[in-house]
């Protein structure tokens, strides 16, 4: 067995409470590494693609990676992988910090959960020994309160991931939260909720050994030193929220359900403005030297601010009042809701009201009170919230009219804060994404913000660039390393190979990792094909096709051009 691995995963059936240690072949680990890659492979082996959504037999995998527990900066991450209740396709969402380290110390490379517990339960894994305890007393509790209560009861040595009320209520875009961070996209919280598991508590003492510890320490020092440089300054000093004014200037800030790409209230939501009028602190995940989390306010009132939350709950809903947007973001965190899908679905509903397709006249663009009310209704699935908890695609199918054409989603996953007509390499990345419209699995926006393409008139040449970003993301998500590090590498694949060599002892090189990345992307595709994928899914909603952006008429994407890009993508992938 390679260093850096335990060579086994735990399969826990929460119906019976039984757990089984399943060996993992060295070859499989080398082919899929860990994180997203390993998780998808385990799902394929477990027949997850064909499983009914949210059924007891549908597995949910927490996958760790060989780098977890090493001194490499940003390596304390884990992937949560399952069939998405929102898309019916593969879903891998990542989160960070001590849960990953504790999971690895439990003596396994992944945890697969199947079944459905008889009552709302906490799954406790203490040094690899699994048991279930009732969590009925935490029913309805927020993610933060659940985590605090469980740590107080079980002991500070435990690391806990939990769902909020949204996960309990099967909101299709519910998150799994750990230490204030979320495995956010695609509804993994609903999957855990469907198993009647409120929380997972981990503690372990099985430390790893590295193949070349001295070289690994040197490598870690070098990487940490570079992580303090200019390539990560944006994340340290302003956070991802720095995108807001930049995107607005480029006419690429989605506004009022993607009706336009410029928001008149952008300045009031910018980090520059937020920090001028509020106290701010920074936090880091375990082992991270970047510290990208910018928290406005203090104590229990503190709110983590990310670009995606500001865009989705701000400009996308037409809300410019910063206090309201911060409150909305905090409420999503408490309920365990993905802020992108929450904002996207509410903005969609607001436009449906505007067009007379929905009767909820109170749900208007720009109305902060309506935004907050809608979030609470979604979390509890009450009133209109029951429909919106299904996500914009299912809601559109129920609303009818022409609403599917304005539902801001691909494969059912709501589109993040990148206007596709203004950023057309990203448009391709969204269209072909295995888990739907996604900025974490495709970094194609980087291509749009470069000299490589004309972002508003991309050609076939953009396809290979989009593929490169998708492959790189697949590898980073499987190693796992934070993508905020991506700017510090001169040759990412070569450096990643060196990291893996030092950790595992494999004689891996850059060329092997290129192949590995493509294999992982293909495995996600294989999952989707087994789950019923058809080529027609690789597209964008009608709204984005043949209609220029009102704020920038040059930003227009024809149906034919997108189809040509997608066809070329499939050709280059050899699918």
């Amino acid at each position: 067995m390679a260093f850096g691995y335990h060579g086994r995963y735990l399969r826990i059936d929460v119906s019976s409470g039984c757990s089984e240690s399943v060996p993992l072949d060295d070859a499989i680990l080398r082919q899929f590494i860990g994180g997203s890659g390993l998780g998808v492979r385990l799902l394929l082996d477990g027949g997850a693609a064909e499983a009914e959504l949210l059924s007891p037999e549908a597995p949910l995998v927490f996958a760790f990676s060989p780098l977890v527990g090493s001194p490499l900066t940003t390596s304390a991450k884990f992937a949560v992988v399952s069939k998405s209740p929102l898309t019916g396709r593969v879903n891998d969402s990542l989160a960070s910090s001590g849960f990953a380290v504790a999971g690895k110390r439990c003596g396994c490379d992944a945890i697969m959960i199947v079944g459905r517990a008889r009552e709302l339960s906490t799954l406790i894994l203490d040094n690899g020994e699994a048991r279930l305890e009732s969590a009925e007393e935490y029913r309805g509790a927020t993610c933060r309160d659940t985590e605090a209560a469980l740590r107080a009861r079980l002991g500070a040595g435990f690391r806990i991931a939990s769902i909020g009320p949204a996960g309990e209520n099967s909101v299709r875009y519910a998150t799994i939260s750990h230490d204030g961070r979320h495995a956010g996209r695609g509804g993994s919280g609903a999957v855990l909720g469907s198993k009647n598991v409120k929380a997972i508590a981990l503690r372990g003492t099985r430390y790893m050994e590295w193949a070349h510890p001295r070289e690994l320490t040197e490598l870690s020092r070098s990487l940490s030193a570079r992580s303090f440089g200019p390539a990560t300054a944006k994340y340290r000093e302003l956070g991802t929220a720095a995108n807001l004014l930049t995107f607005n200037r480029f006419g690429a800030l989605p506004t009022r359900n993607f009706q336009t790409g410029a928001f008149e209230g952008a300045v009031s939501l910018s980090p520059e403005q937020l920090s001028a009028t509020r106290s701010k602190t920074r936090e880091s995940c375990v082992t991270c030297t970047i510290g990208c989390e910018h928290i406005y306010g203090s104590g229990k009132n503190g709110v983590r601010v990310e670009y995606e939350s500001l865009f989705a709950l701000g400009s996308l809903c037409g809300v410019s009042d910063a206090d309201t947007v911060l409150q909305a973001s905090k409420r999503c965190d408490e309920l365990g809701l993905d802020t992108i899908s929450t904002g996207g679905t509410i903005a969609f509903a607001m436009e449906c009201v505007e067009r007379g397709w929905l009767a909820e006249s109170w749900l208007k663009f720009g109305d902060g009170a309506a935004l907050l009310r809608a979030i609470d209704l979604i979390g509890s699935r009450q009133g209109i919230g029951d429909l919106l908890a299904e996500g914009s695609r299912r809601a559109a199918q129920a609303i009818g009219h022409d609403s599917l054409s304005i539902a801001p989603q691909v494969k059912g996953l709501e589109i993040p804060g990148y206007e596709p007509r203004a950023l057309q390499t990203m448009a391709l990345g969204f269209a072909v994404g295995a888990r739907g419209a996604d900025h974490n699995r495709s970094g194609a926006y980087e291509v749009d913000f470069s000299e490589k393409v004309d972002r508003r008139h991309v050609t076939i040449e953009a396809v290979r660039h989009a593929i490169e970003t998708e492959d790189k993301a697949a590898l980073m998500d499987s190693l796992i390393l934070c993508k905020f590090l991506r700017g510090v590498f001169d040759d990412f694949y070569a450096e990643a190979a060196e990291m893996l060599r030092c950790v595992t002892g494999w004689d891996v090189d850059s060329s092997e990792l290129h192949e590995t990345a493509r294999r992982i992307v293909s495995a996600k595709r294989q999952f989707n094909v087994l789950a019923g994928w058809t080529p027609a899914e690789d597209t964008l909603p009608e709204r984005f096709l043949d209609t220029p952006l009102p704020n920038d008429p040059a930003a227009s994407l024809s149906r034919e051009r997108l189809a040509a890009l997608v066809a070329e993508y499939h050709r280059q992938r050899a699918w």
Partner: protein, 84 residues
């Protein structure tokens, strides 16, 4: 011509925008380096540090120091790492 700053470049510049006369991108960056000392570490003879990017009028990204500029142009300087 007008230079607009976004994100970290704005933090370093301390202003949203500046009027700087220049015939080429190279001239503009040289002037910028002189006017804003905190930019010195981010501008070399070859152009902007890889962590920053320059865009002309919101249309195209530019890096060649010989890129001609007109009085009516607006140069946008932003973090190269635009997403997140």
């Amino acid at each position: 011509m007008q230079v607009e700053f976004f994100g970290i470049p704005r933090e370093r510049a301390g202003v949203d925008s500046l009027e700087i006369p220049a015939a080429t991108l190279g001239q503009l960056l040289a002037t910028l380096k002189f006017q804003i000392p905190s930019f010195r570490d981010f501008i070399s003879e070859g152009g902007l540090h890889a962590a920053f990017a320059a865009n002309l009028n919101g249309d195209r990204f530019v890096s060649d120091p010989a890129t001609p500029l007109r009085d009516t142009d607006r140069l946008l300087i932003l973090s190269a790492d635009a997403g997140g």
